[in-house]
């Protein structure tokens, strides 16, 4: 076997692959934290099957000197944790991939000569230590050794992490890490595997955030104090996070009997003075559509986090897709405005989720935070989140005796009172209603009420988050993307390094910012990238800007785009 010199670039991709329930998540967590504490930038993402045990799941961890935040196909180091792992990743394994594994156990999966297995008897070593469960920690140690980390950092971290465990357990884990570490160092020293990856001190003190954490933290920042939901992958993480911090932040959190109840509770909560949200996925949201229409008529704010996954119906519950945009845009009978936010970065997710509550409250409309499994389940380090500009304003008014919930105003927004605050009465009604909120059959009033509700869209446009242009202002080719593809496209373009190609990322897809057309007019060529089969943002752009995008890069097998994939597909076009 030849010696392996892994990328002279400042970037390493480690993939762990094994069965569900085998502890991949623990390895992933420890490894990313230890790497960050050692001064590396980290990124992790996972793909997994819809099952609790067995199958083949994998996590990719990127470790780099510069920031990394996107999925790559490349595997520099593969650590297979169970049979079938190598087969599962077949397409991504190259002769450059170093496989750290018990050779005898995995050799038979290597059908090609691509398999560069460095034999490490993880299991034997673990058993020697007293139990096979130490194998994972040995692997962590080995990688750390390869990278030449400071063993102290690892030991400290393990100590802290297992602090609730018995002394013996801690000791064994540290011992396991050290055993692995020695092997790693040895591999590196012997030249068998050589990794040239300088740490960058910047990362050390940064925070690590996943998509679901960023959304949840943003919700807290936005004053969320009520969440009613029904479990559904991949959206449940947001709710779990909020629940686990519900005491610190006075959040009512309730598991409902179904999604219909969830949305109606959230609406009731806003009515009574809370800032409520729901978190769900496409199928759960399908059950909330009537409730969505209710918010349109009641002019109740509501925040809906929708983590997309491949449909139709149950589809691929644990996979990713961006195929619910058209649905969300048109959901609900009747006509009423809405806002759709589509964060691309952890910062986006945080600030937009915060803003979602303010927008909902201010305009009395439903606001969507549209993410996907890939986004929610990925994480990386970032400097921090700046809270200094966050100031939530409650748009609730104290009512007086003359209060009318649907007072006709010039801009269509009626001051929103809540019951019990002031002397007035607050009446909201799902029927067409008069200014007081009482059911009406006055058909002239009906027209006025429709106009009043729709008018708000113009106001909303004034506060629309413009798309972000990444790259040169004077581009010839413009790449379009939205939501979770942000970092992947950005990294691909970085690599492409073409001055004339820029990237326009939409963080709010509806309503579109009034100046959006300008970007299209300037471009000679426009290419859209979407994780769906029918180019839904393309449709939206055609509908609202009249601009038809011919060149499309679409993917809908349940996996996110990789940087390489974007790069290659782009090359076909430009």
């Amino acid at each position: 076997m030849n010696n392996s010199n892994i990328n002279e670039m400042n970037d390493l991709s480690i993939v762990l692959c094994g069965e569900a329930g085998q502890g991949i998540q623990t390895v992933e967590q420890i490894l990313t934290r230890v790497m960050k504490l050692s001064g590396f930038n980290v990124f992790a993402t996972k793909e997994y099957m819809s099952r609790i045990r067995g199958g083949a799941n994998s996590t990719e961890i990127r470790i780099a000197s510069r920031r990394v935040s996107a999925f790559v196909d490349q595997i520099d180091i593969l650590i297979p944790l169970s049979q079938g792992a190598i087969k599962h990743l077949e397409k991504r394994i190259t002769p450059q991939t170093v496989i750290l594994a018990e050779k005898s156990a995995f050799e038979k999966e290597c059908l090609s000569d691509k398999c560069n297995i460095i034999n490490i008897p993880f299991n034997q070593m673990a058993t020697d230590l007293g139990s096979p469960i130490y194998a994972n920690i040995i692997a962590i140690g080995a990688v750390s050794g390869l990278l030449g980390l400071d063993l102290q950092i690892i030991n400290q971290f393990l100590q802290q992490r297992f602090s609730t465990k018995e002394e013996e357990v801690i000791r064994k884990n540290i011992e396991a890490a050290e055993k692995g570490y020695t092997i790693g160092v040895e591999l590196s020293r012997s030249g068998k595997v050589r990794i040239g990856l300088p740490p960058s001190s910047q990362a050390k003190d940064e925070i690590i955030l996943s998509g679901f954490e960023a959304v949840a933290l943003g919700a807290i920042a936005g004053g969320c104090n009520f969440i009613s939901s029904y479990p559904m992958s991949p959206s449940t993480g947001v709710w779990i996070f909020l629940t686990q911090h519900s005491k610190e932040f006075d959040i009512i959190t309730e598991q409902t009997e179904d999604e219909i109840s969830a949305i109606n509770m959230a609406i009731g909560a806003w009515y009574a003075g809370a800032r409520g949200m729901v978190t769900t996925s496409g199928g759960g949201f399908a059950l909330m559509v009537e409730g969505l229409s209710l918010t349109g008529m009641l002019e109740t704010p509501v925040v809906i986090h929708l983590g997309q996954r491949p449909g139709p119906a149950t589809g691929l519950p644990t996979r990713t897709e961006q195929a619910d945009l058209g649905f969300v845009l048109h959901a609900g009978h009747g006509e009423f405005p809405r806002i759709i936010l589509t964060p691309g970065t952890m910062e986006d997710a945080f600030y937009l989720s915060q803003k979602a509550f303010d927008l909902a409250d201010k305009f009395q409309v439903p606001v969507f935070i549209l993410t996907d499994q890939y986004f929610l389940d990925s994480y990386y380090n970032l400097p921090s989140l700046n809270l200094s500009d966050i100031k939530n304003q409650s748009h609730v008014v104290r009512t007086n005796k003359e209060y009318k919930r649907y007072l006709m105003t010039e801009n269509g927004i009626s001051p929103r009172g809540i019951p019990g605050y002031g002397e007035g009465l607050v009446s909201v009604d799902s029927d067409e209603h008069d200014e007081e909120g009482h059911i009406t059959e006055d058909l002239d009033l009906r027209t006025k009420m429709v106009d009043k509700r729709l008018k708000k869209l113009e106001l909303i446009k004034e506060e629309t988050i413009p798309p972000e242009l990444i790259g040169n202002e004077s581009y010839q080719t413009l790449i379009i993307g939205w939501g979770s593809t942000y970092h992947t496209i950005k990294e691909a373009l970085d690599i492409l390094g073409r001055e004339d190609v820029s990237f326009l990322h939409f963080k709010q897809v509806y309503p579109l910012h009034p100046n959006t057309s300008d970007y299209f007019k300037k471009a000679r060529k426009v290419i859209i990238v979407e994780n769906n089969a029918t180019s839904q943002l393309g449709g939206l752009i055609k509908l609202y800007l009249g601009f038809e995008i011919q060149d499309k890069i679409l993917k809908y097998n349940g996996l996110p785009f990789s940087v390489e994939e974007i790069l290659e597909k782009l090359k076909n076009f430009i």
């Binding site: 802290q160 003190d205 940064e206 925070i207 954490e213 933290l217 807290i220 920042a221 004053g223 104090n225 009520f226 009613s228 911090h245 519900s246 932040f249 006075d250 959040i251 009512i252 959190t253 409902t256 009997e257 179904d258 219909i260 109840s261 969830a262 109606n264 509770m265 959230a266 009731g268 909560a269 009515y271 009574a272 003075g273 809370a274 409520g276 409730g291 209710l294 921090s384 809270l387 966050i390 100031k391 939530n392 304003q393 409650s394 609730v396 809540i418 019951p419 019990g420 002031g422 007035g424 009465l425 607050v426 009446s427 909201v428 009604d429 799902s430 029927d431 909120g437 009482h438 059911i439």
Partner: protein, 289 residues
């Protein structure tokens, strides 16, 4: 308190002359007045149907939501502001048909709200289809050979769900109905009052006369704390008992369970929206872990 405080003034009420809903409106106003509940502190929540129009005819805060969905909204309203008296009111179709799942789970959740179900054994607003409580044999334009199944028994189901308060009333006996309403509103926890209400337009079978003949009151000595007994009485068929069938005083309420009022009794709207300091701490904690 004068019940006039709840009057809406000169409005057009969309119910049919002679409809039992008028009686319920009246009884409810009287009850609220006697309990001295000010309109500003009360929220009437309803779904859609004839019964569900009720909130429009009683001057207070109202949340007239979707067909079948009064209970989730009412539960949340009470949880967010426990200072409010919350009454969810709707029809039998709305509550036991479209809203059946919420009915089950609201009972389990046990918010401190009152649930008044106008049981006219028919879908009124949509012109006379069978409701879950329609009696077997009841003919309608879509049950052309009559209803084939036994009526849904909300009382028995509520007892099976160990509801904290389960009662049945009849609008034809206003004084007794008022007493039941009072008990229900004063009860801490979810209180169901299924109230028989003749629909003069679409239910020609179960009219005032029929209800009078087919009901009687649980005897004075009846103890509503025995669940098996309650079930037995709830499943009587020849004559349907009226009164309070069951009380379980040992259940904590949803508002107690949600936790946010353990230390701080303020309703949510009176609390700070910005919790930046603990948020900063939480964010900072991500540096290490």
């Amino acid at each position: 308190m004068d019940k006039k405080i709840f009057d809406m003034g000169d409005i057009d009420i969309a119910w049919c002359p002679g409809c039992g809903n008028f009686g319920i409106l009246n009884i409810l106003k009287q009850t609220l007045a006697e309990l001295e509940i000010p309109p500003e502190k009360l929220v009437l929540v309803s779904g859609i149907g004839q019964a569900a129009k009720m909130p429009h005819y009683l001057r207070t805060n109202i949340f007239n939501g979707l067909h079948g969905r009064s209970l989730p909204a009412a539960t949340a309203i009470k949880a967010v502001n426990p200072e409010l008296t919350v009454i969810a009111e709707s029809g039998d179709g709305c509550t036991y048909g479209e809203g059946g799942n919420h009915f089950i789970h609201a009972i389990r959740r046990n918010p401190n709200i009152t649930n008044i179900v106008h049981n006219n054994m028919v879908y009124g607003l949509t012109k006379g289809q069978a409701s879950p409580t329609s009696q077997a044999g009841f003919k309608t334009p879509v049950q052309v050979d009559g209803v084939m199944v036994e009526p849904f028994n909300p009382i028995a189901v509520a007892v099976a769900l160990d509801a904290s308060f389960v009662a049945r009333a009849f609008v034809g006996d206003a004084p007794k109905a008022k007493e039941i309403f009072k008990k229900a509103i004063l009860h801490k926890g979810y209180a169901l009052v299924d109230i028989f209400q003749p629909c003069v337009s679409f239910n020609k079978v179960n009219n005032y006369q029929w209800f009078k003949e087919h009901t009687y009151y649980l005897e004075e000595s009846y103890d509503p704390h025995d669940r098996n007994q309650a079930f037995k009485r709830a499943t009587e068929k020849d004559k349907l008992p009226l009164g309070v069938f069951y009380i379980n005083p040992n259940k904590s309420t949803f508002e107690e369970n949600v936790g946010v009022y353990n230390q701080n009794k303020e309703p949510l709207y009176r609390r700070e929206l910005d919790r930046l300091k603990p948020l900063q701490n939480l964010i900072d904690s991500r540096r290490k872990a």
